[in-house]
Amino acid sequence: MIEAIPQLLVNALALGSTYALAALGFVLVINAVGAVNFAHGELVMLGGFVAVGLAATLPETAVLPGLIVLPGVMLALAAVGLVLALIGYAPLRRAPPVSVFISTIAIGLIIQHAVTAGIGPEPRVGPPLIGTGSVELFGAVIARQQLATIAVAGLLLVAVHALLKHTRFGRRLRAAAQDPVMARAIGIPVVLTTAASFAMAGALAGAAGLMLSNQYFVAPTDGAVLMLKAYVATVIGGWGRVWGAALGAFAIAAFETVVAASVSYLVAEVLLYVGVLALLMLRPRGLFGEAEGRRA
C-alpha cells in the first residue's frame, strides 16, 4: 500500500542524522557537567537562524550555499556554547546540578525571545547544502538535499568519534566525564575539557540547525521539541553513552516515520512516550545500558 518507502526511509535517515547531531551535543554536556542543558534545543534553533542570516550575505548565484556557511554556523554556535558555559554553568559548578536546569532554561528563554523580538516570529528557510533538485534512486525521487544531509551529518559523526577515541584531547574529555575529581587529581584541566564540551555541543547543534532549517524551516518556537527529542534519544541510548544517543536519535526518527506513515502521527507520538516509559520500567538503565556502573 505504501509506495514511497525509499523516500520515507531516506527522510527518516536524514531526520535521524540531524537528531543524532543534536543528541550528541546534548550528551557531551551531560558527560562534562552531569547536568541537562535545557537550552540545547534553542541552540539548534539558533543555528538555523544563523544559517539563514549568513546565507543572506552570499550572492544569489552561490553554489553549495549551505556547505559554505556550515563552518561559520558551527563556529558561531561554538562561541554561543562557550558563552552558555560561562554564564549558565561556571557560576553554578559548585551548586546542586538542578541549578543548571534553571540557568539553562533561563538562557533558553532569552535566546528564544531574543530571536522573536530581534528577527521576527516568521518561520524561515535555511540554505540548501548543495542546491536544490532531486535524483532518481531505486525508482524513487529523492531530494539531493536529503542525501547531502545524511552525508554531512555522517561525516560529522565520524569526525566526533575520531576526536573522542583517537586523540589525547578525546581521552582527557572522556576521563574528565567519568570522574572529574580523579581527572583533576591527575592533572587534566577540567575547566578546559568542560569548555570544549560546551563548544562542541554548540557546534554540533549549529550543524543540526542548519540542516533542519533547509529541510523543515526554522521558527523561534522550535527549540522545545528538539530538546525533548535529544533527551529521549539520550535515555534510549543509555545515559552518558555518546553513541547510544546517536543510535537513539535514529531509532526515534525511524519509529516516528514508520508509525506515522502506517497509522497516524498521534499514534506515533503516544507510542513513542508510552514506549519510553515501558523501556524505563523494563530496562531502567536504557536500551544499551549506562556508560558506567554506579559505584556503591
Binding site: V98, I105, I110, V232, V270, V276, P284
Partner: protein, 557 residues
C-alpha cells in the same frame, strides 16, 4: 522536639511587605497578580515534597496542576458539581494518579525519573489536546466562579483570601508531612540512599505518599486557577507551568515551603514589571531568572539559613533501646560473581549471639561483598542466610533491618543538613531510644550540633549510634577502627565487647589485626571468595595459609 525557628520572623516580615505593596496598589490587577502568586505557591509547596524532600526531579508536577484544573472544569461544567466539592475532586484525582505514577517511577534513578515524568506530562498534554471529551485544543470554558455559602468569590479580595487560605493549608500539610522524625527519615532517604535501607527505611512507602500529597497540592492550585480563569485549556499542561514551579522551588530553596511562597512572590509578578518592553519582556525575565539562580544557588531559604541557621530540635531525655537479643546469624554457601570474577564462592559461617566474629582477608577477598549480601544491599547470587529461625535472603534490606540486622559502613553516609540527634532518630523507634544510642557512643553531649561539623572519628561513632538505635540483635561493622587514634580504638573495643556481652551477635570486618585479634572470639579468613581458615585468633593467626595469603604482607608493611 520543636525549637523556635527565627527564620519565621524574616518570612513574616516579607509577608507584611508584600501585603503593604498590595494594599498600596490596591486595584484588581494587583489583586489578580497576588492571587496568581498564591496559586503557583500552592503547587510549588507540593513540589518541594518530591523535589526537595525526596530529591526526585519529578517533572510531572505541572501536569498534575493541569489535571487538577481539568478535573474541576469537567466536574463543574459537564457533571454540574458545585465549585467547592469540585475543588475536592481537583485534589483527589491528581493525588490518586500521583500515587499510581509513584509506584513504577519511584523505583527509577534520578535522571530517569525526570524523563519518565516528563513523558507522562507529554502524554497528558497529547490526550487533552486531541480528545474531544476534554475539549480539544480549545479546552473547557464556562467554569463557574467559586461560591461559598452563596457568596461569590470570583474576583478581587474574596478570591485572593480563598487562594491564600489554600496556601496556608498547603504549608500546614507540607509542614506536617516533613516534621520531626518523619522529616529526618526523608532527609536520610534522600542524602543517605545506601544507608537508609540498612537502617530499616523503605523508600517506596514514603515516595508513594509524598507523590500523592504533592500531586494533590498541585491539583488544588490547578483547581483554583480554573475557578479563577473560568476556562481550562491544554496550556495548563504545557511545560511552561512546570518550568515556573521548578524555578520557584529552586529559587525558594530546596525543600522549603515558606521559601517557595517567597520565591513565587518574587518570580510570578516579575514578567509584569517588564511589560514596558513589549515582546522583549521575556528576555528580561529570563535574565532575571538567571540572575536569581546565580546569586542564590541554594535559594532564598538556603541564603537565609546562612544568616539565621535553622535551630536543631531539642532532644528528649534519654531512654533505652530494647534490643532483640539471642538471635544468631547463619550463612550457608554464599556466592556471588561479577562477570567472570568470583567474589564469593560457597562461604558458610555462623555468628552466635553474644560473640564477636572477625572477618579478615586481603583487599578484594570478598569481605565487603559478604556484608552487602548479608545486609541485602546486594541481592544477586546464591546461598542461604538465616537470622535466627527466619530465612532472610529473599527479603529487602529494610525488612532485614526491621528483623534486627543492623550495619555500619566503612564510609558512612551522613545527611549534612541534620543535627546529630536527627541523624540517629531517623533510625530509632523513638527520640528517647535515639538518645540512649548516642549515649553509648559518647555523642550525647553533641546531640544538637550539625552532623556536618563532626570529625571522621565522630562520624563513625554517629554511624554506629544510628545502627544501634534500630535495636539490632545482629550488628555488621565494616572497618570500624580505621582512622581512629589508639585511645578511640580502646573505647570502641570496650563498647563492642559490652554490646556482645548483652547478647548481640557482631560480625566485624577489619584490616587492623592489633585491634581485631584481641577483640574477636573467632576469626574467619577469606581469600578469593573462599573461607581458608576459621578458628580462634591464635589458631588463625598461626595458620600458614593465612600468613601467606594475608597476614604476612600485613606484617611486612
Amino acid at each position: 522536639m520543636r525549637a523556635i525557628d527565627r527564620r519565621g520572623w524574616v518570612y513574616a516580615l516579607m509577608a507584611l511587605l508584600g501585603f503593604a505593596a498590595l494594599a498600596a496598589a490596591g486595584d484588581g490587577y494587583a489583586l489578580r497578580i497576588a492571587t496568581l502568586v498564591g496559586i503557583y505557591a500552592i503547587a510549588a509547596i507540593g513540589f518541594q515534597l518530591v523535589f526537595g524532600h525526596l530529591g526526585l526531579l519529578a517533572l510531572s508536577q505541572g501536569a498534575f496542576f493541569g489535571i487538577g484544573a481539568y478535573a474541576l472544569a469537567l466536574a463543574t461544567v459537564e457533571l454540574g458539581v458545585t465549585p467547592l466539592p469540585g475543588l475536592l475532586i481537583a485534589v483527589l484525582v491528581p493525588a490518586l494518579l500521583g500515587a499510581l505514577v509513584a509506584l513504577p517511577v519511584a523505583r527509577l534513578e534520578s535522571h530517569y525519573v525526570a524523563l519518565a515524568t516528563l513523558g507522562l506530562a507529554q502524554l497528558a498534554l497529547l490526550l487533552a489536546t486531541n480528545l474531544e471529551v476534554l475539549g480539544g485544543a480549545n479546552g473547557v470554558y464556562g467554569v463557574p466562579p467559586l461560591t461559598v455559602l452563596g457568596v461569590n468569590l470570583a474576583e478581587g479580595w474574596p478570591m485572593l483570601v480563598a487562594v491564600w487560605l489554600g496556601v496556608a493549608l498547603a504549608l500546614a500539610l507540607g509542614g506536617w508531612a516533613t516534621a520531626g522524625r518523619r522529616g529526618a527519615r526523608l532527609t536520610t532517604l534522600r542524602d543517605a540512599p545506601l544507608a537508609a535501607p540498612a537502617l530499616g527505611l523503605d523508600p517506596m512507602g514514603y515516595r508513594v505518599g509524598m507523590f500523592a500529597l504533592a500531586a494533590g497540592t498541585a491539583g488544588l492550585g490547578g483547581g483554583l486557577q480554573a475557578l479563577d480563569l473560568g476556562v481550562v485549556s491544554p496550556a495548563v499542561l504545557r511545560f511552561d507551568v512546570m518550568v515556573t514551579l521548578l524555578a520557584i522551588a529552586v529559587v525558594g530553596g530546596r525543600g522549603s515551603g515558606l521559601g517557595a511562597v517567597a520565591a513565587a512572590a518574587l518570580l510570578v509578578p516579575l514578567p509584569e514589571l517588564f511589560r514596558g518592553f513589549e515582546s522583549g519582556y521575556l528576555i528580561v525575565y529570563g535574565g532575571a531568572m538567571l540572575a536569581a539562580i546565580v546569586l542564590l544557588p541554594r535559594g532564598l531559604d538556603g541564603a537565609l539559613a546562612r544568616m539565621v541557621p535553622r535551630p536543631a530540635p531539642i532532644p528528649p531525655r534519654q531512654g533505652t533501646v530494647p534490643p532483640r537479643l539471642g538471635v544468631a546469624l547463619r550463612v550457608e554457601g554464599l556466592s556471588r560473581r561479577f562477570g567472570g570474577v568470583v567474589a564469593l564462592d560457597g562461604v558458610s559461617f555462623t555468628v552466635p549471639s553474644g560473640r564477636i566474629v572477625g572477618l579478615i582477608g586481603a583487599n578484594g577477598s570478598g569481605k565487603t561483598t559478604a556484608l552487602n549480601r548479608i545486609s541485602g544491599l546486594d541481592r544477586v547470587g546464591g546461598g542461604e542466610m538465616w537470622l535466627g529461625k527466619t530465612r532472610i535472603d529473599t527479603l529487602s534490606p529494610a525488612r532485614r533491618a526491621r528483623l534486627g540486622l543492623a550495619r555500619g559502613f566503612q564510609h558512612p553516609e551522613i545527611p549534612a543538613d541534620l543535627s546529630v540527634f536527627e541523624v540517629v532518630v531517623a533510625a530509632a523507634p523513638s527520640g528517647e531510644a535515639a538518645m540512649a544510642a548516642l549515649d553509648r557512643t559518647g555523642l550525647i553531649d553533641r546531640a544538637r550540633e550539625p552532623a556536618a561539623s563532626l570529625g571522621p572519628a565522630a562520624r563513625r561513632g554517629l554511624d554506629l549510634a544510628r545502627a544501634l538505635a534500630t535495636g539490632p540483635s545482629v550488628l555488621l561493622l565494616d572497618e570500624p577502627a580505621a582512622g581512629l587514634t589508639a585511645e578511640e580504638r580502646d573505647r570502641l573495643s570496650s563498647l563492642l565487647r559490652r554490646l556482645a556481652r548483652e547478647g548481640r551477635a557482631l560480625l566485624v570486618v577489619e584490616h587492623s589485626m592489633d585491634f581485631l585479634l584481641p577483640l574477636a572470639d573467632r576469626i574467619i579468613c577469606l581469600d578469593a571468595g573462599r573461607v581458608i581458615a576459621e578458628g580462634t585468633a591464635d589458631t588463625v593467626a598461626a595458620d600458614p595459609a593465612v600468613r601467606t595469603a594475608y597476614l604476612g604482607r600485613e606484617v611486612v608493611s
